[in-house]
Symmetry: D3
Subunit: 125 residues, 6 copies
């Protein structure tokens, strides 16, 4: 199995309105370093999983309306607890919608919120 990973980031504000989150219930923010991994069993004639430029563009497009935004105001996230795990899935599903029907086995999205904590959502394609 082959895997190709590209990395980008987004700088967001949000709050986590559930008592379990303690001080993170208030409005705060994060730089999420975002890694998108695409998996594929066999390569084609270009000898790549996906063109790095194309993967980078896919990831950027998936992050574009989240970056420099307050996620509490994002219409697609209304009523969603925007935890790192939930955002990883949100980004992964967006990318998956673009890759459907291609020669890919699956993908992972990792969001690193600070040097000591990160989350990943993995799914098949």
């Amino acid at each position: 199995m082959y895997a190709l990973t590209v990395r980008d980031r987004m700088m967001i504000a949000h709050s986590l309105p559930h008592p379990v989150f303690g001080p993170a219930q208030g409005l705060h923010g994060a730089t999420y370093v975002v890694e998108l991994t695409i998996r594929r069993a066999e390569l084609g004639e270009e000898a790549f999983v996906i063109d790095i430029g194309e993967a980078t563009t896919l990831l950027r497009e998936a992050l574009a309306d989240l970056d420099y935004a307050n996620l509490d105001d994002h219409p697609e996230l209304a009523g969603t607890l925007t935890t790192t795990e939930a955002l990883a899935r949100f980004v992964a599903d967006r990318v998956a919608g673009r890759l459907a029907g291609g020669p890919y086995a699956g993908l992972d999205v990792t969001l690193r919120e600070h040097p000591d904590a990160w989350a990943t959502y993995s799914r098949d394609l």
Copy 2:
């Protein structure tokens, strides 16, 4: 599948008394950067694998009596070759004992001993 990782560290002394270890047979030490990854298939209402604070506490408790210690004198490690692999399993099994019965699929513990070498132990829950 979702995964959440938290990171901590421990600074230990130990020796590896088996001829295969060459200079590491003598007493030396290491900073182990420790990553604990917990996996879970579906999220609950809090939209997380586990609270980051709770995971951080679990990991800290698993490392507490190892950190700033000489592992050659640790009663639970008597007769154990404290290789990076063996320590990764020791920490993973400690954490697993605390997570048993929860909604988790598995966990990984990675110990990084220096920038060019690290080991992981992975297990189901």
Copy 3:
């Protein structure tokens, strides 16, 4: 010259209301990885610049009311453009106030806002 650096972080929301900042004029956020470096010409009997635990506490106290906050609402930052540079100075001056009169030559505070951009403020003590 000796220097000791400790690292912490803060997760903040803020906006940068000046036209030069483009999309960062809106409310967004950042994880700032914060490095505090304290410089000292000669060591005392403890053979350190400052105790790592003490430096870590100093830095944490300087960040405590910024972490998990919306800086747009912080009373000491009213009317301040909270750029990375301005925040680095704000943190540095807070720490400097605590170190005044000690055996220190100066300090630096670096704030890393994402993997490709960071700022430092350096001052004498």
Copy 4:
């Protein structure tokens, strides 16, 4: 499952003569940071997956004739598009040939070409 990873690097020149690669069709180069992960289900009496020194030597030997070379002139790579994915497999298969018959479950080779892109090839043993 246990896994042990060692890291090395190689500094190569190459070109990617296929129209999809845009500016990378010309002769350019890369520092590939190379990670070799070896997996094993159970440990032996030495309590390791493989000796770190032995794994480091295996990886170095697999990279030796690639490092400081122009891959366009490498006889074993004639007619190969030396993408990151293809090189990851080339290195992995070389190492696999040396580990055959041992107690190993599989291996992964990751090549990091810059901070924002890397590829992995994974195979059983």
Copy 5:
């Protein structure tokens, strides 16, 4: 003193035709991770050393004709040993030419050629 750093990269081929360079005399390559630091004594009304976007553009323009190139064929580098130190100065002087007359105190350019070696050139403005 304030400092702002932005980071980019370039992937180049080159050779170092001097006997002291051993295997690096042949054609090989590197990913250079490039950090540009601009220093300034006092901030203006925008509260920054320089706009991050502007600094990023300056650095990209300084690297544009080096990236994905064979430096042995670059007209401005004919007869130059393109060591990491020499390239750091080349990039720094290019950027300095663009910043002349501005409110800046100096700049540093660091080129990281692999995880265990990097070089910096520092100059006043």
Copy 6:
């Protein structure tokens, strides 16, 4: 001014027998990631501060009898509190003894003891 940095590491055991060190008074250990920076005002015909291979060898030789050792038993460190700062100076002075009389302006030695703490000793040559 030019600077060239090379990186190595050492894995040591030691104790810090002074009440200020709390739990670090007992025997424990560390992986020190060690960075040696050599500074030089102008380059010679080889266009480098120092050959990377030569700098790497100098650093390795300065660390050789510390690596995989218990510093409490090291004859040159008897009676020394082997703090990170003191070890940085010890390594720096060893390297300085080898570089004396050369075209160098100064050097820095940084020892990173874990991801959130490191110390540097800087001196002229």
